[in-house]
């Protein structure tokens, strides 16, 4: 990153740069301030009150009570852990799997590569609601395909209640999230690998490098920017997984699939604890902001 100090510029230049800079920023800033920053500020304010849903009801300022309560709320802590598990499990697996598939298919014949790319992209474009419904049926306790195949192959003895069992439910959710997340990374990796400088690859091969060495020492650095982008979007997607939980388990059984996002929605619209839900939102926002900042710093030092 080229760093030119504002101090070294003339004042007129600074003014000109500032005006044109803000003019360029204006359209984006309007939306950002109106639909992200302002609600976030309101969210922080509401989180300090006991706001609830009631006609003409006023809310009282209660300080940090919501935050204190949050950290004694077992369900919230459980939801926090679940959210972390989803992100920690799904982000690396999505990245590794899509890189692996991308590396396998990018130099296949054109039609084969296209076919695979489309297939892996299908769950993304089919729409989360429809895909979720199909998976619900696949996991079905009594007559789902998974149990049908599993018991017939003798993998397990009797039907397993995949979504109704707190041991398996979160894993099932992560698997669906996985299938709906790998499409885009695969497409990106295929194109990134296709754009790798062939002369470098050939040079390495002439030097007697094995395929694996070529991959890690020549191709990997070149697709690094793609990897970073994929890391970021997968993290975002994993945090936002909502429809899956809403449609499949509603956070059950026994809060095994509650995530912070779902619990916010639930606290607000089923329990009517607006202040509390907003406090949760603030905590989550802080966590995510910290994570994003760290990710950004890491990416910066890497390149």
């Amino acid at each position: 990153m080229a760093k030119s100090k504002p101090g070294s510029m003339s004042r007129a230049l600074v003014r000109r740069e500032t005006i044109s800079g803000y003019l360029f920023l204006l359209p984006s800033l309007v939306f950002f301030l109106t639909f992200v920053v302002y609600p976030m500020v309101m969210c922080v304010i509401t989180s300090l009150t006991n706001a609830t849903m009631s006609a003409g009801g006023t809310s009282d300022f209660i300080g940090l009570k919501n935050y204190v309560d949050l950290f004694q709320d077992k369900t919230f802590l459980k939801a926090l852990v679940n959210t972390v598990i989803i992100v920690v499990v799904s982000v690396p697996t999505v990245c590794v799997f899509s890189l692996w598939v991308g590396a396998r298919i990018y130099n296949m014949k054109n039609w084969a590569c296209s076919a695979f790319r489309v297939i892996f992209y299908l769950p993304v474009v089919t729409g989360s609601v429809a895909v979720t419904v199909v998976w619900k049926w696949i996991y079905h306790y009594y007559n789902g395909v998974l149990n049908y195949v599993g018991t017939n192959l003798g993998l397990w003895e009797k039907n397993i209640n995949w979504l109704g069992n707190s041991q398996f439910a979160l894993g099932c959710i992560i698997l669906i999230l996985f299938t709906t997340s790998v499409g885009q990374p695969i497409v990106l990796y295929v194109s990134a690998l296709g754009n790798v400088d062939q002369t470098l690859v050939e040079a390495a091969q002439v030097d007697g490098a094995t395929d694996l060495q070529v991959f890690w020492q020549v191709k990997w650095p070149q697709i690094m920017p793609t990897t970073l982008y994929i890391l970021v979007i997968t993290t975002i997607n994993s945090f936002q997984c909502f429809a899956l939980i809403q449609l499949l388990t509603s956070g059950g059984p026994e809060h095994a699939t509650d995530t912070v996002m779902y619990y916010i929605y639930y606290s607000a619209f089923t329990l009517y604890k607006y202040g509390y839900a907003n406090a949760m939102g603030v905590i989550l926002a802080l966590c995510i902001a910290a994570l994003s900042a760290v990710q950004f710093k890491l990416a910066k030092s890497d390149s």
Partner: protein
């Protein structure tokens, strides 16, 4: 190389391809199930033994989908009329033929995705360029704010957002789903990363040539960050397409629903009509899959991450 090594590598390739094929089958299955399910009778959809191929093909689900809800195909509103009517309803200038609402829902979904995509790409490209190449006051603060907010899930700001939409008279309009997507700063971040790669000398040269700021942007900057814009466009489109959460909260009237939401509001008292759901899903996904098939070359060629760096 001796043949032994060759043979093991052939075996390895075969196993790997086999694994990919199995994975592909798993990925294909939901679509297959949706497409066949759309033509199954209620009894076979609800059958206790899976019916791999419909024993009896029926149009019942599509009939339900097309006969149970209707809506004008499109409507032209007087812009900003909701600010002037007493109950903040929009004044309809012209409206299309009343057809099954499913078509309107499809149009709504496409509209939201395209509008969000275009607005996001446009605003983010401008802003990203400014953040990368302009040295203005407050830049560092703004950029940190953007980095911190770029992964923020919308659930966090749910209730304030609902109230705000009311204040802006946007409740129950498609814009209430579109605008928060546009405001989401991930796009700006991405565009900034791309714009960093533009050599300063080129910009300087353009300035000396006397091109205006906007001209510099359209003729020099935009072409250089186009691959990034492509990536952002696809990401925004798909995310809006699948943004069930915002749609669920913001959209209520039959005329403004998206496909999945519209279908979910057709469900009966006693649970889900899966056949109907599949019919709706099939109707919604087939066009976008065709678009993807036709344009996939451009989709994938346009996107290169070469320019992304920290």
């Amino acid at each position: 190389m001796n043949t032994g090594v060759k043979r093991t590598s052939v075996y390895r390739t075969i196993t790997l391809i086999l694994i990919i094929v199995v994975a592909a089958v798993i990925f294909l299955f939901p679509l297959y199930w949706i497409l066949t399910g759309a033509f199954k009778t209620p009894a076979s959809v609800n059958s206790s033994t899976p019916e791999w191929w419909p024993s009896e093909w029926t149009m019942r689900n599509f009939n339900e989908l097309f006969s149970k809800r209707s809506a004008p195909l499109w409507e032209l509103h007087v812009p900003l009329s909701e600010w002037f009517t007493s109950d903040h309803s929009q004044v309809v200038l012209l409206s299309g033929p009343v057809l099954p609402a499913a078509f309107r829902w499809l149009i709504n979904t496409v509209f939201m995705s395209v509008a969000a995509m275009v607005l996001t790409c446009g605003t983010a490209a401008l802003a990203g360029y400014a953040l990368a190449k302009k040295r203005f006051i407050g830049r560092a603060v703004l950029f940190s704010l953007i980095v911190c907010a770029m992964a923020l899930p919308k659930q966090v700001i749910l209730i304030p957002l609902l109230r705000e939409m009311d204040g802006l008279h946007l409740t129950n309009t498609l814009w209430s789903v579109i605008f928060p997507v546009v405001g989401w700063p991930f796009g700006v971040f991405l565009m900034k990363q791309f714009a960093e790669g533009i050599p300063g000398e080129i910009l300087e040269a353009a300035r000396i040539d006397g091109g205006g700021e906007l001209k510099t942007f359209t003729t020099i900057v935009f072409p250089m960050i186009k691959p990034g814009v492509g990536a952002l466009a696809i990401f925004t489109f798909i995310n809006t397409w699948n943004d069930y959460f915002m749609q669920l909260l913001m959209l209520t009237g039959t005329n403004v629903l998206s496909m999945p939401l519209g279908i979910s509001k057709m469900m009966g008292e006693f649970g889900q009509d899966y056949g109907l759901l599949m019919a709706g899903a099939a109707l919604a996904s087939v066009p976008i899959i065709i678009v993807f098939l036709v344009f996939q070359k451009y989709f994938t060629k346009g996107i290169t991450m070469g320019a992304v760096k920290g």
